[in-house]
Assembly symmetry: C3
Homo-oligomer: 381 residues x 3
């Protein structure tokens, strides 16, 4: 009977389920437009086979190893690091033996989908089936139907956006464009490393931004020009959007002299937490201004408390899965930005918000479009 229920995610009630089926039938064959693809341009630039099931499915997915870690399995055992996995079959067996932990999670939902639809596996992953899974997946990954570009085409993807540092050379994106392959992969401008003073190596990152653009980034004006230049560069390689991962949605609209002073403070590493927050707030408004000029859609991922696990962070650094959503007050936080640009019909802002916030509720209840005159679409997660 397979791993998947035909009506998974649909309502239990027959009446609403029939409506869900009808709606889904109308869109299931449409091509995929993926604005936040969690993929790397390098996969498609080099088009090399994915080496093994662990390197593809376990090592890069913090939802997977975070769950295993929470049950007492160390990251060392799982060989989580930037280096190649030495004994992928051993790691796979650990994952398989603990697959029951993923019951009811979105992770299992899409893993089972991939297992059944891509690899033809129909018996649940477990200690017993671990080796069969490993060998089946590994052998398929070496075929040309499973090369990254082939999968992109098979999945009927119309466009896929990656998320990139403003310091990235985007050479993988350039390589894809020059290769003649028709798949549309575009970068997204995620300036956190150069606009968030709490980011690792912030001052160095800003210095590098200056080198890349030839601007004098020790001045506020030069710094803004450098950001504008990088946005233009991203746009030249197809970017349609920016993305901002801030701890809160706070925005500010400081006078130029105040902003200049604040920039000096954060650059010299003398800003306390409140001034760092204020700088990020000001930068969201600056980014909105630039979006009005260059047309990039602005995405705000606010409210995640990142790197919550101090020991994991100390040992492994950022983005190791120890993130947890915190409450965010969008209503007051966005006001300074909206007071300045909220009535511009050509500005598009996408907020990624959790539905339990007041704002999320208001939006979910149909108020979504009424915050201002902007064409702000809101994704309630």
């Amino acid at each position: 009977m397979g791993l998947l229920h035909e009506d998974r995610l649909f309502p239990a009630d027959e009446k609403t389920r029939a409506i869900a089926r009808r709606l889904y039938a109308g869109i299931k064959e449409l091509p995929i437009v993926s604005p936040h693809g969690h993929t790397q341009a390098g996969w498609f630039a080099r088009n090399e086979p994915f080496p093994d099931p662990v390197t593809l499915l376990v090592q890069p997915d913090h939802y997977i190893f975070r769950m295993l870690y929470s049950q007492g399995i160390s990251l060392e055992e799982l060989e989580i690091s930037n280096k190649p996995v030495k004994d992928p079959r051993r790691v796979w067996r650990i994952f398989a033996s603990n697959y029951h932990l993923f019951r009811g999670t979105p992770s299992r939902l899409w893993l089972d989908y991939a297992f059944e639809n891509l690899f033809g596996l129909t018996e649940r992953l477990s200690a017993k089936t671990a080796d069969h899974y490993y060998e089946t997946i590994e052998s398929r990954l070496s075929t040309k139907e499973f090369l990254p570009r082939a999968l992109f085409e098979r999945f009927n993807i119309e466009v896929l956006a990656t998320t990139d540092s403003p310091l990235d050379s985007l050479k993988d994106h350039e390589e894809i464009r020059e290769s003649g392959w028709k798949g549309r992969i575009v970068p997204t401008f995620r300036p956190d490393p150069v606009v968030d003073p709490a980011f690792d190596q912030f001052a160095k990152n800003v210095e590098r931004l200056g080198e890349l653009t030839g601007e004098n980034v020790t001045s506020w004006r030069g710094y803004l020009r450098a950001l504008e230049a990088r946005r233009r560069f991203f746009k030249s390689l197809g970017a349609t959007a920016t993305d901002h991962g801030h701890p809160s949605a706070r925005t500010a609209d400081l006078s130029e002299s105040k902003a200049e002073w604040l920039f000096g403070k954060v650059l010299e590493g003398e800003a306390d937490a409140e001034h760092q927050e204020l700088f990020r707030a000001q930068m969201l408004t600056e980014m909105a201004r630039m979006s009005l000029e260059d047309g990039l859609v602005m995405q705000i991922h606010a409210g995640s408390v990142r790197n919550h696990n101090a020991q994991l962070f100390a040992k492994y650094g950022r983005d190791m899965g120890a993130d947890i959503p915190g409450p965010t007050d969008y209503v007051h936080a966005l006001k300074p930005l909206l007071d300045r640009f909220g009535n511009e019909t050509s500005l598009s802002i996408i907020l990624f918000t959790l539905d339990e916030t007041t704002f999320g509720r208001e939006l979910a209840a149909g108020g979504s479009l009424s915050l201002s005159a902007t064409r702000a679409a809101v994704v309630v997660l």
Copy 2:
């Protein structure tokens, strides 16, 4: 088949739908008691025909024009102002062409109800049907069945409460009473203009309050007596309740000397945001005290962040639809008021709250009546 589904708003599931139908059948013929009617006494005092569909349905409804505005339609195009609409048919066509924007909103739900049940329209409003709608509605509005008093009777309204400034002469209400017409329309005492220091023209409003009552409103005692006098006047014209639109539910219970000092400060326009908030907080407690004396039920609409759109506010002033709910902590906010009056069985307070607040949840879960001994009913919106 018409615009309305017979079972709209009922559950999809057959079993619970049958229960909903049974419950609804038991109450659908009951007269309407409307404690917060969003209507004007003048309609019923003058009993003149509503002039045209736009003046009736678009111009006074900020839910309608806020949605249109959010999609880039200017308020000038929609002729939103205090003046008569010059080209109502043109505005109606804009509204009709954008009626699809209201899919899934409460606005469409009640508009379709009115279109079908009052005006006999059964094809959806759209650019195509705009003129047919306009002409049908306009022609009906000129008949005597559609005069305000006739509609009041046809809707089987037992009592309808308007919401009025304490500075209002209530002459429309007096006129209704003297006209011999039997419809019961009562005013509601909404003192925001004279108790909220952030209200436009606060000091002038207080001065006017003094003129109306003959009290010396430059003294705290005189100011309170003036409020008591206006409440008595409202009550003499049928008022049964007060209503308070505060940014938060904060209450305070200051000593008389502290309250006196604070009143002086806000009256001279020297109060900062925190002192203005403290004054509103104190005034909720004063209003509770007066309610205990004169028996008016107290309604608190707290937590709406008003006039969020700075440009709209600058151009059009208050209440133009740019409101959005913010989080409100009722539990701590109401404590000072409840510590003083919360155990009085003759005090009735109605809180209008959103269900996503902790308080709303607690109340919805059956704890509603347990906050205190007051007969506080709570409306969870």
Copy 3:
């Protein structure tokens, strides 16, 4: 047809109801493990009959009398106090006449269950049936099938945990153990009276802690040793857990010298609200450290605003039902504790949280186990 619907609490939809029935059938005959039993060890130590329906069902249940109080019935009328009820039949009649107030509440759900299944009553409790109920219940309570131990066995309870002050002698628990009766009743270590500086008689309680343990509790080290000693004593009588009722989940990880200074301050009664909160925060982290050493599971009941009704509190003291949940930010609050002990696989923490908090949502959505490596189970209420 009785008081109970066979499928109460199950979904209305037939499909999901069938699944609920199947799941329930699989567990309904299992013995009860009750980690937070709201019972007193003395009942089982003395094994005396419950005297009458009011003393059993009304007097000790603040959910019951809080609802009645909210409708204007005084606690005097209900004879709520620590003394024996003088006229239980009169109180019962008041309760019965107001039983309709409990429609839709969990209180009625379990009362009806007890009425029907324990006492064979099948007509709803009301003014009319009040005396019949009273007499039926009273007569059964005097039979040996209704002695506390007999009920414990009949209910198929495997283990029942009481909640006890660290100053309790636990002599009832000792008596049960020495009696030869096989029912497993264990104490739970709830140190609020000696770790919360806002607790009534805090300094006296700490002094008594010193007397019980022979430690010098005027020193920080001695105080901690005294707590460790009491935990050992509780554990020797079967305790498996601690329980902490704090106004927030805030934790701290102060240096020893800072903690020592703070302890001196709270002990001398000189700590303001912020310092009291910081002390409670530090004590949660100390309790986690002790749990790592002695293996007791740590339960945190955070976020309840206690004794909200000032008049009730002044007259009757703590725990009279005037509690109401407030918002709690677990994400930041728990970080200091988790930074220190969050990666210890042998620490178990149970958080009692309301599902409307961000944290509760995140947890309910499957993220529950990923906060850290601890085996933290989370109970979302």
